[in-house]
Symmetry: C2
Subunit: 634 residues, 2 copies
């Protein structure tokens, strides 16, 4: 039974007006150190400033000042760099909602003022269009990213509403949204943006303000797409999902970030309008895309050329694109579907994607990022200069900033609000989807209170200890996800011991007294993972995983290139802790008896060694290396 979510001024990024599971209010779950606590700190103290400094230095923030001044100016950066400033503002807002750091608050306010000053009197706001010497407004829906950029502005304003209730950025965003309603409403211009994003943004603004015109405009944008309103481009209409209406598609295709943002917006529209068919289309697309077009890390996007999904089972490791933003977008979709359905498979994918496809992006110091994320680095990357803007396509290590730099700011807003996907509540229940180290204190919708301390050492350890910090007063159903990667798990409660299967969830339903403890023990040991044999690129290989972490072999540890290795014996997998997972490796030299690498027969010679693997998300932190996740077997 879906529950109705009253407008909650303090909340995370997504708050459907009804859902099976309800997001916790902002502040009800607080990280207490551990993996995510440390990364959220690094985001607050390093990444936010890093993004701001770069965008100040290369003029992306200055674009707003120049636009406000009213004189013709040379715009810095590609046409959608406004959106990077907005994503930073969103990240800052989430962080301010938690910490109220005065320095951050004043930086945020200054930045909002500079953005606000560039708004046109009619509400339009974009620094690349509509001024003398610039293309006209709405002259290029295919590539202009106008609605996309304004979508991110609206998302940033929603974060201000949800953390502060109101503020000057909210006023700016409402004027933007009102302008869009006037231009693109039912009787207005029949158009969609080449890059979806305005759709979820408008629904969320509708939810946060109670103004249904915004939701209705989002609905129009979702329904209009798929009818060829966008002009054909080299990559075809499917590049921007305009070849088929969303509700008729059964798999994602085209540009991965676009497809995933659109799906998130479609779910939002479906929920607000009670459109079960539209919601079902999103579930089907998720299901088939995850089954056939998703990497082991949860990454999506097989082609560099058009940043797109490949065909079914087209999942090359070496040419994986796997854009960081697509992983973030995948979690946006999975979270929305988890709220609606309660199905643990969505939480499983969020876990897999967060630890591997998202967190591979930042360098350990938070000052450089991957944009594309390969599972097989064939040649050592180059170290990008710390003070130059990098192109995204080059084989390089993590770079401090990019010409198209969507990923660092997207990561910043994700880290600033990451705990929002950890737990949910129902009338009399609390659901723990992601583990880590955190404290929960929340009043449940049906009455009663939930206070718990969760400690787990996740993702490196497998024991989740949940201790009640309050009496629940009334019976409370505490539900814990048992990860799909666990073949089995053990649950110890005040009422006894249970054995549970992986890929499910288990509930403890009782009146909790302060000090009551529930322990979920998941065997977190290195394991072998086999790919579906229909994945051509992975035939004859296996991967090593440990808990939610995918592991990788780096040349740094092997002492030579990793392209020619063979995993010697699956049984020889050794696990002496998360930092000491080892395998037996042979290095293969082949002879085909031909100048070409093809022959009637192939003979091989091998050289043998034992070598340590590292969590995939940390690869490249020790300097240039070659790396592979899937290891050929004998």
């Amino acid at each position: 039974m879906p529950i109705t979510n009253r407008t909650a001024p303090r909340n995370g990024p997504v708050l459907p007006s009804s859902s099976l599971l309800r997001p916790l209010p902002l502040g009800a779950l607080r990280l207490a150190g551990g993996y995510w606590g440390e990364w959220q700190d690094r985001n607050a103290h390093t990444i936010l400033q890093h993004c701001e400094d770069w965008m100040e230095r290369i003029g992306w923030i200055g674009n707003f000042d120049a636009a406000a001044a009213g004189e013709p100016f040379t715009h810095s950066g590609i046409e959608f760099v406004d959106s990077e400033v907005y994503k930073l503002l969103e990240a800052m807002a989430w962080e301010l909602g938690r910490s109220a750091d005065p320095d951050l608050a004043s930086r945020y306010e200054r930045l909002v003022r500079r953005v606000a000053a560039a708004q046109s009197p009619d509400g339009y706001l974009h620094t690349s269009f509509g001024r003398p010497g610039q293309p006209a407004r709405w002259s290029n829906f295919e590539w202009g990213h106008e609605l996309y950029s304004m979508g991110h502005l609206i998302q940033a304003a929603v974060a201000q509403i949800r953390t502060a209730g109101s503020g000057p950025l909210v006023d700016v965003a409402v004027r933007v949204a009102d302008h869009l309603v006037a231009v693109f409403g039912a009787d207005g211009r029949q158009a969609v943006c080449g890059h979806p994003e305005i759709e979820p943004a408008l629904v969320e603004l509708g939810r946060a303000t109670g103004d249904h015109r915004y939701t209705e405009l989002a609905r129009l944008f979702v329904e209009r797409r798929g009818h060829g309103l966008l002009k054909p481009i080299e990559f075809g209409q499917e590049y921007f999902q305009d070849e088929l209406p969303f509700r008729e598609a059964d798999v994602m295709r085209g540009h991965a970030v676009r497809a995933l943002y659109l799906a998130a917006g479609a779910v939002d529209v479906a929920v607000e309008t009670g459109d079960a068919e539209l919601l079902r289309a999103a579930e089907l697309q998720w299901e088939r895309t995850v089954a056939r077009r998703t990497y082991l890390t949860g990454a999506m996007g097989s082609h560099h050329q058009d940043e797109s999904f490949g065909a079914d089972f087209e999942l090359p490791s070496d040419r994986e694109y796997g854009e960081t933003c697509a992983a973030i977008a995948s979690n946006m979709l999975s979270w929305r579907l988890l709220l609606q359905t309660g199905d643990a498979k969505y939480a499983d994918l969020i876990e897999r994607t967060l630890y591997n496809a998202v967190m591979v992006a930042p360098r350990e110091d938070g000052r450089a990022f991957f944009y594309a994320n390969t599972l097989h680095q064939r040649v050592e990357g180059t170290v990008p200069p710390e003070d130059e803007v990098s192109a995204r396509a080059l084989a390089s290590l993590r770079a401090p900033w990019f010409e198209v730099s969507c990923c660092p700011t997207n990561l910043a807003r994700t880290l600033a609000s990451v705990e929002s996907v950890f737990a949910t509540m129902t009338e009399h229940g609390l659901q723990l989807h992601q583990y880590g180290d955190y404290d929960i204190d929340v009043d449940l919708p049906g009455g009663g209170t939930a206070g718990f301390e969760v400690r787990s050492g996740w993702p490196f350890n497998g024991e989740v200890i949940v201790t009640a910090t309050k009496s629940s007063e009334t019976p409370l159903e505490l539900r814990l996800r048992v990860p799909a990667w666990a073949t089995t798990a053990e649950l110890d409660t005040p009422d006894g011991h249970h054995r549970v299967a992986g890929g499910t969830s288990i509930a403890v339903d009782r009146i909790f007294n302060r000090g009551d403890r529930v322990t979920l023990t998941v065997p977190n040991r290195a394991r072998i993972t086999h790919p579906d044999p229909r994945i051509d690129a992975l035939r004859g290989t296996v991967a090593i995983e440990r808990g939610p972490l995918v592991y990788a072999l780096e040349s740094t540890d092997l002492g030579r290139a990793i392209n020619d290795v063979v995993l010697l014996d699956e049984v020889a997998l050794q696990d002496d802790g998360p930092d000491d997972v080892r395998v037996g490796i042979a290095v293969r030299e082949a002879q085909t008896g031909s100048p070409l690498p093809y022959g009637a027969a192939v003979t091989e010679t091998t050289f043998i060694d034992t070598v340590r693997l590292v969590p995939y998300s940390t690869w490249g932190n020790r300097g240039p290396s070659t790396m592979r996740v899937f290891l050929p077997t004998e």
Copy 2:
């Protein structure tokens, strides 16, 4: 011992001033039907007209008229479409050198007049640069393709010299070349073109005219490259081979056509200047590139994104780019190295590349072409409209014309002169490198005459019958290549019977009398080919080849998609002739027990059938299909 090649007015595209093997003069080898005779006819009667009609219709020829008129005009097509007109002119010249068709001759002369009229008084000739409203001359070496286009003009003029001795296009090209010498000579502008091509063109013009200034300018262009004269682009300096001097590189990298044209030019310069180090660099690059970066078909280029070589053993079937022009360029290089070294491995690669990577391009009617050539078509292509220009990147069947249409005209010039790589001569010898059906009649450099009829039914049959049509008067060494794909072969001569190994050559040295017959019998049966296990994309697969032909499985024959197939039993390969090669196939359905295509174990169910394979070069001729060359094994 290299021999010196006197200037020969009638010759094919390449005539080094010295070489171990000497090209036959134009007309000394004439096709007599068979595979190549039919395709050369189709080229003469269909493809040439097809190219001319398209370029007339979409204004690429009209650019020259507009440029000649002197008024500002809107240029049609991308900035290097001049080169397509030049490649057509080159193809027409080779065809006229053989057939003297009056209609073709008058079309050729009209086209030359229109080109000539656009030349500037100082010799510069390009329709995209230097006029009011156009970019300035030499303002964009990275992408402008000015020298590239003029290179193709010069090649077309060389074809006029070699077929007709002289003509108006030669005058135009000499004025162009003199202008380039003035602008880019030793004391001139220190620059190179982003796309090599001017280098082999200038050497050939130097050879054909005896003017060494052109060769010297080519030498300067080769030597200047690799020192960062081109501005950095997103794909890096290696995209246009400007990150490392040619003589220091040991493998090809970057844009495949550029790398191969450059290598061809470097060999030409090395030969004309006696630069053994430069020649050795080209041999090393060929060797390593063929061993690690070449497809089974001979195709080169692993990435769509930048049309580039991949890393070693990065040879995905499904994302193969394998541009038709790169295959043609590979043969340009192999032919040059064959002439210098006499090593049969170069002739072997020419054979493999011609039958598979080049001849997959044209549709069987010669009115549509592949640009990129995949070895694994995962989804059925769309049928491009017959009257519209196609984008090159879309998954489609062969298209009549492209926005960037380098491949059809390149194929036209290749087919018009294809027999030039079939045989060579030495002082007292004749070497047959490629088989087919043709007649040779030539006076040898050391005296004596060679007259032979060659009949083979190649590539479908394996018996090559060489019959003397003249007495050789003096002893003559007739040398026959034994293809590397043959494990063994039989040679019958008037002097007896011999058994010979594949990948070698065998000579018959005697005075030939009219009617003397030499028969080489090569077992032309379907065979299994194994890929080097270091090719990740091909692990656990095999291909089927028959003689020089690579075979493919098409969904048209299987009656369902081919992505999930498994080759059931290698022994079950049946060969009842070139049109009836069959294998046993299972279709696999896999279960991982997870929403993702990865799991602790994988179970499979299969469905079994027997199915016919087709020569890879003919795939797609029966309409949209899915296709794969490498078949997974059990």
